[in-house]
Every structure is written in structure tokens, then in C-alpha cells.
Symmetry: C2
Subunit: 242 residues, 2 copies
């Protein structure tokens, strides 16, 4: 049976981290909210009207047979062994999950660059605070998080350019998406990304060139970045490299 | 061998969610940074000087034999089956993990009530923004998150007062800590907590009365809430119930 991915139509958002794994594995899946009455079906799940008490708090969530799995890291931890996107030993799976959760934390910070005060209010109503938060994010948080991943790739004794082990994992795919998103949202500030984070930059290009990923990025299944997603391009939040 | 928990000394913080599970299970563990040269040992791990390439991004992390596990949800997902704090079927473990990740997201929002602009700056330098963020948090986010958990307990067909299944799980312990933290940080705004979230309020009292938890809360292993942790009491961020 095909996997059913439930996520808001119209944005890459958090759903994209799941899509990339499914696409790279060539898995059979349905992006439910992008089908006919899919958004309605998703909302019925959220309202607990699906006869399953395990109601998710928010999209994305994945149906895999009788299982309903919410949260990106949870979904990927479940899928990765089936999709051959993580080494199967316990230590690697746990390490990969910790790395994905680090990416989860980072994404929350990315989101808050444009919504530092309230997700219920418009960006335009918190633009001043968004500028301050973005400045701190670019100065302190990007180096802390992306520098960490860069060091891990460099220290990986397999020297294959991946974050852990010898082969591509779902964490590499997610890091590709993070690097793409930063380049979209902050093109000026990321001008020296390759200089500062050469291993992450190289990984990004390697992932982009994977045949299945390359085909996906050219397809209409790949939505464009836009100003409803996590990574938003507001020129006034961008700045010259630190 | 005893579990080794690594977390900053002096605060409950994210480490507390792990401590509560270990305490309730009566597990043998060491709170490393609260021992002699423990903080130094923790920092050496963070700097990758421990001969293990799986360097954590940040505390808390747990050593279980050769495994090094970072991130609260990852630690608890690993520990819970061993500590009898989650049903062993795949669906329950996945659901519990999704719930714990929802709590993780909520904790990030709690933290940002006092640090909405930059974690590198003092609270006092972002007090105006913290007031705005706290107002939105209390108005929109507490009802959304705590209301969700309240509905889950109510809808749990076991009617035992727990979030999932018939028995106490680690998610219940974490929700106890969240409810305690909210009451500490926002005593005025939480004045009608019991009225608004009766099932979460009842769970909080049930957990507090568990013999091992009660003993822990009275011990010097339980640190007090303070203004260096996630939940901070700044009266100017509190307000009357909405």
C-alpha cells in the first residue's frame, strides 16, 4: 500500500523533509492534501474524525497502513530503515535521530526569524522584531548549527562527504533542504556559505545531483519556495555576510 | 551499569524530563554534571574529545553503555521500553514519540517567551518583545497545546487519566513538568488552569502523588525552578487569565 503523506498544500514546509526521503527511495506515496478533496481529509484527521484516537497535533503526518505517525523526525525515524536511508545498527539510528532533531530545532528558529512575536499575527506586524531576530540568527545561530554539521561531515571517518556512515542518509537529504532554504531566504548573508561550510556546501551539490532528487526537483511535485513556508525571502531581513 | 545523564548543573531545564522518567522507574543513574568534575567531563564530550565521533549538539545527552543519545525525545524513546514507561507495541511507541515531540515544540515556545529575539542577549535587553510574545503565547499557544493534551486524556478509552493507554507513560511525566512549569512562570495566567484543562490538572496531581516522584520532589536531586531555566517567573510577563 502506498504511504499517505498529509501536509498543507502550497508550501514545502516541514513536509518537504519527508518528501525528499520518499523521492530518493523511489517509494510509492500519495501527497494527500494535493489531491482532490485531500485537504478536507487531512482536516478530518486533525479533528479526530477518522476513528483513530491517535490524533496528530499538526501536519505533517504519515499513514503507513494502520500506523499514523506525526512529526518529521518521528516519520523519518520510522521510514528510514524501510527506505534504506539509515544504517540499521542501533547506534547509527539513534545518532541520526538526534541529528534530525537538531535540524527540527533549527527550523523552529528559521521560522521565528519572520515570526518572532506571534504566529497568529502577520509578518508585517512584527517586522521590526523580525529584523532584530534575523540579525541574531545570522550572526549566532547559523554558525552554531551549520558549523556543527560541517564539522561532523569533516570528522566522518568514512570521508564520503556524508554526515554519518558511508552512505547517504535521510539526515543528508534534510541538510540539503536546510542549505537550499537558507540560500533562498538569505541570499546575501549566505554569499560566503561555501567558504564557511565547505562540507555542507559540497553535500548540497551532491544531493542535488542524485538522479532521483534531480528528477524530483524538476517535477511539478516540487513546490517552489515561497513566503508562506518556513524559509521566506524578505530582503529587509537579509544582510551582508558577517 | 548506571545510566549517565549529562545536563547543565543548576537548572531543571530539558534534563528534568529525563530525570523524571529515571526517578519514576527507580533506575540507577548518575547526574554527571552535578558530580565533582562532571561539568568538565560534559564539555569534553561536547568538544568531541571522548573518542566517539557521535558528538551531541547540546545537552541533555545520555550514555547507556556504548550508546550516546542526545535530545530529550530521543533519550526517552530509547529508555521508555526499558523503564516500563510506554506500551511496547509499535503504534503506541510512535504515538508517544509524536506527543513528546509536541512537548519539545512547546518548550521552545516557552523559552522564547523570555528570549524572543536572541538567546545570546540578556532577557532585560528584550523585555518589551518578551511581553508581546508572552501575551500571544498565553492567548493562543497555551490553549492550543494544553487543550490538545486535555482532549487526548479525555478521549483515552482507558479512562485512567493518562494520555495514552492504561498506564502511566513518560509523556504523562513530561506533561506534569510542563504544567508545573507553567504554574511557576505564569501563576496569574494559570489561575484558571484547572477549570480550562481539568484532565491535565488531575494528571498533574496524580503524578505528584506517585511515591517515587513524591520522594524525588522532596529530595535535593530536584532542583528548584529558577530564572536560568526554561520556565522563568518574570511578573511583568504574567497577566490575568484571558
Amino acid at each position: 500500500m502506498a504511504y499517505e503523506l498529509y501536509y498543507w498544500d502550497g508550501i514545502q514546509g516541514r513536509g518537504e523533509f519527508v518528501r525528499l526521503a520518499l523521492e530518493q527511495a523511489g517509494a510509492d506515496y500519495m501527497d494527500v492534501a494535493r489531491t482532490g478533496s485531500g485537504t478536507q481529509k487531512m482536516m478530518e484527521y486533525m479533528q479526530g474524525r477518522h476513528g483513530n484516537l491517535k490524533t496528530p497535533f499538526a501536519p505533517p503526518f504519515l499513514r503507513d497502513g494502520d500506523l499514523v505517525i506525526s512529526h518529521v523526525a518521528n516519520i523519518l525515524h520510522h521510514l528510514a530503515p524501510k527506505l534504506d536511508l539509515v544504517p540499521l545498527d542501533e547506534g547509527s539510528r539513534i545518532f541520526a535521530n538526534g541529528l534530525q532533531l537538531t535540524i527540527t530545532d533549527f527550523l523552529m528558529e528559521v521560522h521565528d526569524t519572520h515570526h518572532p512575536i506571534s504566529t497568529a499575527d502577520y509578518y508585517e506586524d512584527q517586522r521590526k522584531e523580525a529584523k532584530d531576530r534575523s540579525r541574531a540568527f545570522l550572526k549566532n545561530r547559523v554558525p552554531k548549527f551549520i558549523g556543527y554539521f560541517n564539522r561532523l561531515i569533516e570528522a566522518n571517518s568514512s570521508h564520503g562527504g556524508y554526515i554519518l556512515g558511508e552512505k547517504l542518509t535521510y539526515v543528508d537529504l534534510s541538510l540539503f533542504q536546510v542549505a537550499e532554504g537558507l540560500a533562498y531566504a538569505f541570499p546575501r548573508a549566505m554569499d560566503d556559505f561555501e567558504k564557511n561550510y565547505p562540507h555542507v556546501a559540497a553535500l548540497k551539490e551532491d544531493v542535488r545531483a542524485l538522479p532521483r532528487i534531480a528528477a524530483y526537483l524538476k517535477s511539478d511535485r516540487r513546490l517552489a519556495f515561497n513566503e508562506s513556508g518556513i524559509f521566506r525571502r524578505y530582503p529587509e531581513l537579509d544582510q551582508d555576510p558577517a
